[in-house]
């Protein structure tokens, strides 16, 4: 074996966290293949065990003669009652099982909004307008400039109309206009691509964290598209950037109760009235990162849609760390000393995010990880607890469980942190980085832009599993797992249509 052999600390080997020193053998290349072999062995263990069993049965069956069969038949006749009871129980049990199984939720299609190009904001314009408003002092301007430079955002992200005026003109009507533009833009596209009729939509869930007018945004959609009177509509407000997954979860639960219907989930955010015009540094960061964007998703529980649907929802795991005070105050909307409202981000955001992620994958792991990884994790845990050995806790390899990752594009730091913690390769986080570059942080809809990127690149194949992770205020970490039902091609009018060939780009600084 190669346990003591070459220390090929290359990228071919298993990704190792730099700050922990591990035994040499984990760095050798050959171990990777051993691990892979072990993984396949355990995954197909059941199948492998079946083979000898089948062999035994075949041998037995071949040795039967008509007399034995006759004997078997007599046995059955004498024990008719027990046989009947057995079959009744079997049929009854299967019916109950089939009836109470959760209905599959299919993602028929989704659409992400691409704003018109005149709403794009370049770095210089951001700085120029910020300077000309006169609200920011020099150190705040310099701070915003530095954040913008290192943010990972490109020069084609979008900012609402109200911010393009000099001076900016945030108002409720402008915020409503932004919401309408984004939501209706995404929904028009979705309805055009899926040909779903308004009267077939039974469930509508809208989430927008920072803008909650009366009547609600879901009422606005109902009004615009003339949806039916007995629709189950919900509007989720204040739930942060992870509200997209929360909305999917809610729709999924509703689809269990209401049979044979469609659910539309709209995720968006509103920038117009939420620009911070003060000088507190912790509240300036959202100005530099948050941008206009939104998505609309069509879910279905009709079995006939399985043929045309893109994905099937496999799991949704929600973790809330709000019980911890520090996590609760991590992302906090408040007024600064001058009375200006903004969202302040605390300095331990990354640490709290890491903790929330750990909690989430602890629950998600057993659901999605292959048996091989679970055994390894379990055995390492047992070794640590019982034998008290100084063994590093085993970080399960999520790359074996998932083919694609959609990490909420909260900022460059978040993506870097997750890439490190989950030991992902650059190709896995490419969708997140490129979405951050092209669209900025569009809050709850960014995971959908990332999925659209993966599709546009032609990487989504049948039976591929996708993991969408979203972090949000609270502090929450929510995951959704989807499985592709076919080789997915991007839908018409995808937000990446005109620029996918330019990506991936190298992000400097």
């Amino acid at each position: 074996m190669s346990s003591e052999s070459e220390r090929t600390a290359t990228s071919d080997g298993v990704q190792i966290h730099q700050s922990r020193r591990l035994p040499d053998f984990l760095q050798s290349v050959n171990l990777k293949y051993v691990k892979l072999g072990y993984h396949y062995l355990v995954s197909y263990l059941l199948t492998l065990c079946l083979v000898p069993l089948m062999a035994v049965i075949l041998i037995q069956a071949s040795q039967l003669n008509p007399d034995d069969l006759h004997l078997l038949w007599l046995h059955l006749q004498y024990n008719l009652v027990s046989v009947v009871i057995f079959f009744v129980v079997l049929v009854f049990g299967s019916t109950v099982y089939i009836m109470t199984r959760p209905r599959s939720v299919y993602l028929v299609d989704y659409s992400c909004y691409r704003p018109p190009s005149h709403l794009q904001v370049k770095f210089h314009q951001f700085m120029e307008h910020s300077k000309l408003t006169g609200d920011f002092d020099d150190s705040s301007l310099e701070f915003q400039r530095r954040i913008l430079q290192r943010s990972g955002l490109g020069e084609e992200t979008y900012v609402p109309e109200a911010m393009h005026y000099l001076p900016p003109r945030p108002s409720m009507s402008a915020a409503r206009e932004e919401a309408e533009q984004v939501m209706f833009g995404a929904l028009d596209n979705l309805f055009a691509n899926t040909n779903v009729k308004a009267k077939d939509i039974g469930i509508l869930v809208v989430n927008c964290s920072l803008f909650n007018p009366t009547p609600s945004l879901s009422a606005m959609i109902l009004n615009k598209y003339k949806l039916r009177g007995n629709i189950r509509s919900f509007n989720l407000g204040g739930m942060g950037c992870s509200a997209g997954v929360i909305a999917i979860d809610l729709a999924k639960d509703l689809l269990q109760v209401h049979r044979n219907t469609y659910a539309v989930v709209v995720s968006t955010e509103n920038i117009t009235q939420n620009w911070y015009f003060g000088n507190k540094k912790s509240m300036l960061i959202p100005n530099c990162l948050f941008r206009v964007g939104g998505s609309a998703v069509l879910l279905s529980n009709k079995s006939s849609d399985r043929r045309r649907a893109k994905y099937k929802l496999v799991h949704v795991v929600r973790t809330h760390r709000g019980a911890d005070d520090k996590a609760f105050r991590c992302v906090y909307q408040e007024q600064d000393d001058a009375g200006k409202t903004g969202v302040s981000l605390s300095k331990d955001l990354m640490a709290i995010a890491g903790g929330a992620l750990k909690a989430n994958i602890t629950t998600l792991g057993p659901l999605v990880l292959p048996i091989s990884e679970q055994l390894l994790f379990f055995s390492t845990l047992v070794t640590k607890k019982l034998l008290n050995a100084k063994v590093k806790p085993y970080i399960p390899d999520f790359k074996l469980a998932f083919d694609h990752f959609c990490i909420h594009a909260g900022g460059r730091a978040v993506i870097d942190e997750l890439e490190k913690n989950l030991q992902l390769l650059p190709t896995h986080v490419e969708a997140s980085r490129m979405t951050l570059h092209r669209f900025g942080n569009t809050s709850s809809s960014s995971i959908w832009y990332e999925l659209a990127y993966t599709e546009a690149k032609g990487r989504m194949r049948k039976r591929n599993r996708v993991w969408q992770i979203a972090f949000g205020s609270g502090f929450k970490c929510n995951s959704a797992v989807w499985e592709a039902l076919r080789n997915v091609k991007p839908s018409p009018n995808s937000p990446w249509e005109d620029c996918i060939d330019k990506y991936p780009v190298q992000i400097v600084a």
């Binding site: 005149h118 370049k122 300077k131 000309l132 084609e156 393009h164 005026y165 003109r169």
Partner: protein, 452 residues
Amino acid sequence: MAENEIMYVCKRTVVSTKPVQPGKHHPLSVLDRHMEKNHLRVVCYYKGPRGQEEAGEITKRLRESLSEVLTHFPIMTGRLIQNDKGHWMIKCNDAGVRMVEARAKGNVEDWLGSVDRGREMMLVHWEDMYYKPYFWSTFYVQVTEFEEGGLAIGLSCIHLLADPTCATMFIKAWADTTLPRKMLAPPFFDPLPPRRPGNRIPNHKPYTALIDHYNFSLHNSNPSTDAKHTTITLAFSDHMVQACMDMTLSSSATPNKPSPSPFEALAGLFWVCISKVKSLRNGLLNMSICLDARKVLGLHKAFFGNCMIYNKVHLDGLEEHKLSQAARAIGEVVAKMDSEGIMDLIEWLEQNESLTPPLMNSCDLICSNLEVVDIHSSEFIEKLRPIQVSYYVEPVFGIGQVLIFPALPGEGPLGRVAMVTLPEDEVIKLCEDELLMQFSPTILMGVNRTHA
């Protein structure tokens, strides 16, 4: 009151639709840098289209086409920075131009019936350079929609980047993009060509008049700001300009001299009349003429940048304000402004550049020939040409300024419009001058009508 008539809707920044290549810088020529202290304003009026469009519709369309046309003019959307020599240059970072949207009451014809300099300035937005030039937009566009029909488009820019010819070129390109038509002449942003070494004529006597004139104005630009200036617009019809040209020929000593150009005739006319108005008994006052030198230098007519050269016109020992001699003197100076002379000037300027440019319009009466501008073919709306156009080169201190450009096409090829900027009392006297009245100019824009 005038203030109530125009309502400013909003101001925003408009960028080009295609991003510009990052890191590009455009240097400014020495002629550009010479014009730093001045700025330019252009106003074009259009009648409204039949079939009322919703208020703001035209403005929206214009905004979108402005974005598109700015793709071809990266210089306009850039920002000023200083290079290591301390000279201005443009960083082409696509920061955008400012666009102001406004609404005016009434319709455009009524407005034109009672417009004066003050009110016309309200149709063109301008902001002087901030203390931080990196965030200062060099171009400003204002679109004013008249509630009862009509449109006024105002463009202002620092003279450092553009002269009236290229400002007009931009408006034409913008109109073509709005229609939409293919832009006929995409602009050229190359630097001024250096003198071709092969063309150095040995023993060539440099034409020093140009250099002398610039030298003089560099050292003598002390603007007198006491007089309040106003501007009037006079339109001369085709046969009136012909009559003026004939008059300059009539008492000429040498009958074989070629006929003066309309500019020379009209410039001579104004020279004589304004001298009279300023009560100059003998001789004519100091005047410089300003010509577009693109053709002379062999540059493409779509060259973007400053290419207008000033030169002094003298006429000593003149008794009786004789129009023909004035026109002849102007004609001689125009002929002498050839490419060699201009090249000499450019070389001299490059060697003797000071970091504080002069105010070019400050010591003499300036008479600019804007005949190359082709503003009247710019149609923003199908088949609707401008009904009136105004040009301003600001600020005007000192004696005064006359800008001469072509009239509406309906007036004939020789029709000209002259915008005269003088102290207020002199303007009134000018309008009553006999010689001028002989050519019965139509007063398109008169003295301040609103006696506030």
